[in-house]
Amino acid sequence: MKLGKVIGNVVCTQKVDSFQDIKLLLVQPLNEELEEIGDPVVACDTVQAGINDIVFYEGGREAALGLKNWFNPSDLTIMGIVDQVNIGE
């Protein structure tokens, strides 16, 4: 799992059937200090995250398993909303 910050949403009318009713969000990957790393990515949302929320997301096969209908082509899915990240003792 990785940390990210929701920076926008993506509206998409024409999409594969298994993505119907799935919210797509633009996520900026973050490191553990909550500094931006790399380029933003698009992820499926399962937890009703909103803009500026810190979230954790999973990629690969697990991303597809995170959605209700498992037979979908998601390769990035938001699994939870982060309240707090504590680094160090």
Binding site: M1, N31, F56, G59, G60, G80, V82, V85, N86
Partner: protein
């Protein structure tokens, strides 16, 4: 499996139900000399690891699902051991 060091924890209230009851820790992968290597990842804890511990981490979905005894859990990264010694 990879080696890592626990550097922090993550608090999350709203998450998929399958994650409930598991601690989420921030793990920095380390090499054989325990030097940091690459980007940190979040991992579910199954062995009550804490900050500063060197841990054994699996980064593979089927292994994690087997440990959780749930064939459809969307979980990949898990802490499965606390390392005492690397010789």
């Amino acid at each position: 499996m990879i080696l890592g060091r626990v550097v922090g924890n993550v608090v999350s209230t709203i998450k998929l139900p399958v994650y409930q009851g598991y601690k989420i820790l921030v793990v920095q992968p380390v090499n054989d000399k325990e030097e940091p290597q690459g980007e940190s990842v979040l991992a579910l804890d199954t062995v009550q690891a804490g900050v500063g511990d060197t841990v054994l981490v699996i980064d593979e979905g089927n292994s994690s699902r087997l440990i959780m005894n749930n064939s459809t859990a969307p979980v990949r990264t898990m802490i499965v051991g606390i390392v005492d010694l690397i010789k």
